[in-house]
Symmetry: C2
Subunit: 397 residues, 2 copies
Amino acid sequence: MLQISQRGQQMPPSPIRKLVPYAEAAKKKGVKVYHLNIGQPDIETPKMVLDAVRNSDFKVLEYSHSAGNESYRKKLVKYYESVGIHVNQNEIIVTTGGSEAILFGFMTCLDAGDEVIIPEPFYANYNGFAVAADVKVVPVTSHIESGFALPPIEEIEKKITAKTKAIVICNPNNPTGYLYSEAEMQQLKEIIVKHNLYLFSDEAYREFCYEGKQFSAGHLTGVEDHVIIMDTISKRYSACGGRIGAFVTKNKSVLDAAMKFAQARLSPPSFAQIAGEAAIDLPADYFDTTKAEYKSRRDLIVKRLNAMEGVFCPNPGGAFYAMAKLPIDDADKFCQWLLESFSYKNETVMLAPATGFYGTPGLGKQEVRLAYVLNTTAINGAMDCLEEALKQYPGRK
Amino acid sequence: MLQISQRGQQMPPSPIRKLVPYAEAAKKKGVKVYHLNIGQPDIETPKMVLDAVRNSDFKVLEYSHSAGNESYRKKLVKYYESVGIHVNQNEIIVTTGGSEAILFGFMTCLDAGDEVIIPEPFYANYNGFAVAADVKVVPVTSHIESGFALPPIEEIEKKITAKTKAIVICNPNNPTGYLYSEAEMQQLKEIIVKHNLYLFSDEAYREFCYEGKQFSAGHLTGVEDHVIIMDTISKRYSACGGRIGAFVTKNKSVLDAAMKFAQARLSPPSFAQIAGEAAIDLPADYFDTTKAEYKSRRDLIVKRLNAMEGVFCPNPGGAFYAMAKLPIDDADKFCQWLLESFSYKNETVMLAPATGFYGTPGLGKQEVRLAYVLNTTAINGAMDCLEEALKQYPGRK
């Protein structure tokens, strides 16, 4: 009998996508489903970004350089300069989505059995890349009561062992929306220096900060060799399908090793590199409009949630996610029930149970993540459903 | 002191790309370099394939399904049907290049320390994916004298241990151009049944067969659970930069596990899926023209090589590579010398030393791989250079 591998068995299914069959069944019954479950923005990809691809006139769809087109990397240098991160074109490897940047980081800096500390709740796919790289994720819990701020340094240090090689943060955070303060980033700097760790900083949502600006890991001084920025154009320009990201570090040994992984997979996608390159030339006010839209959605969803009896939603400083604590017995059951057994005016809402974002079993059972990737009218419709659902749900606490 | 991982250190650099700095230096001196070193075809990507992307009119560049767009997978079912491989749309996962299909195979079917047997010389990047998956590559040597036919079954069986989980073949073969016969495929079937192994079949060059047709691993009957086809549009439609491939198997457990890896990286690139889907509608005679072009190149390069004193080049049955044995001391030195110290009429040729394609140290020192991805005029120019170089090379044997 042929067997699949242990890691194939251990690989977690996507917690965000596991409810999809229930949503499909609801739609078949004619129920409208508001999708607040995944981070696929409804914002249009800027026309000039798509047009750059549509107007391209090459004759052969060739491999690009394994690190990405030089012309694109030169543009990225300008982009990073504009956000106060000083790198040159050889310190950037263009990746196939932010996903590949994360995988390259794990593969390059950690060996099988090594440990990576991640504040939980965290982006669930980190688990998948950890299984692929045979790395152990060690969660350190952040709490909804404090808005998911960085856990106290002592809590993080308690988790450090001889096997710990890196800390991963996502800033602003998916799934919590938390924006790390400069003081918190300086605390992280102290830890990585003291314990000789890498800091992997997933900055997919850099531009989407609603209370102040992002303090990037790339702004930390004196720890350039420790810091790897994992980046992507997916959310920044609403270009998720492009699958273009970046692996950015000033650590030469890490770059050299990561380049070998990059060469093995030959090159990142060519079409979307054209899109990414064009995006750098978007007018300076491009993010203003998008940010204003997301901010109005955030303000609405947070207000609506906190107005519901027994619901608590801290105000997220960035990204386009909110985490809410609900008066329910079990978020997984509740989210399934919303799709399977509930509708209000023939509509319902799809949410992501928070359990999939925690590494510690049992946590997040009363929490859900809401991606505010729909317009305010839709958000109001979704919140009407949720409010009514919480009244009807048999497992209400 | 921060360290990179062991696997980062073990990761082999690309043997095909390591001579690039010497080629760049030659070009700076004004020397024209014929690139027979990499499999980047000069054939134009079909206009209708590129136009499908250019004429696309979506507004949001969204994530696709993690297994690839359903519309594309349905088209792929038709394509596979046309080459005698019967699968349904749920037995296909669209991947980011053939590269990702190989990685998914290793990750899904093998654990750290497991072994995979590969006839050598083999596509060098298998080494890279093996390091990423912490899998041991066990080479079994094929020989230039027999045109790189499948090694005798006994030789393969000698290599099988309790850790052996799979055999990888590339058919038609990169780097040798060898096309496995139906009889050889049936021998492989016997081995995988007898020893309960997976057969990973890299069929990137399926259409490019000049002596008869490909007998696909997908044509083997009764071993459907053992067979995984790793595929790509890169060479088929000269669309290397698209980064679209496919992982094809009828083994449900393998599919389920591979889907979890696919979900972790979210989706394959969206633009090039449009290209891949359009390519299925190319006229039936599309490959005739391309094949005729490659065949005339093959005929020329093989004739020119065998006409040189001391050179032997078996006639490759498929793909667009030829391996030649040269009267030289060391292929790595020779290929570097061609770029660094030689020119003929201000031109030279870049070849891939075969050493990088062998897993057994010391093999391939007198062999080079030639990719016939240039037109016949350029091939004649390149062969003139090689002929002259072999007369002048100080390490001639």
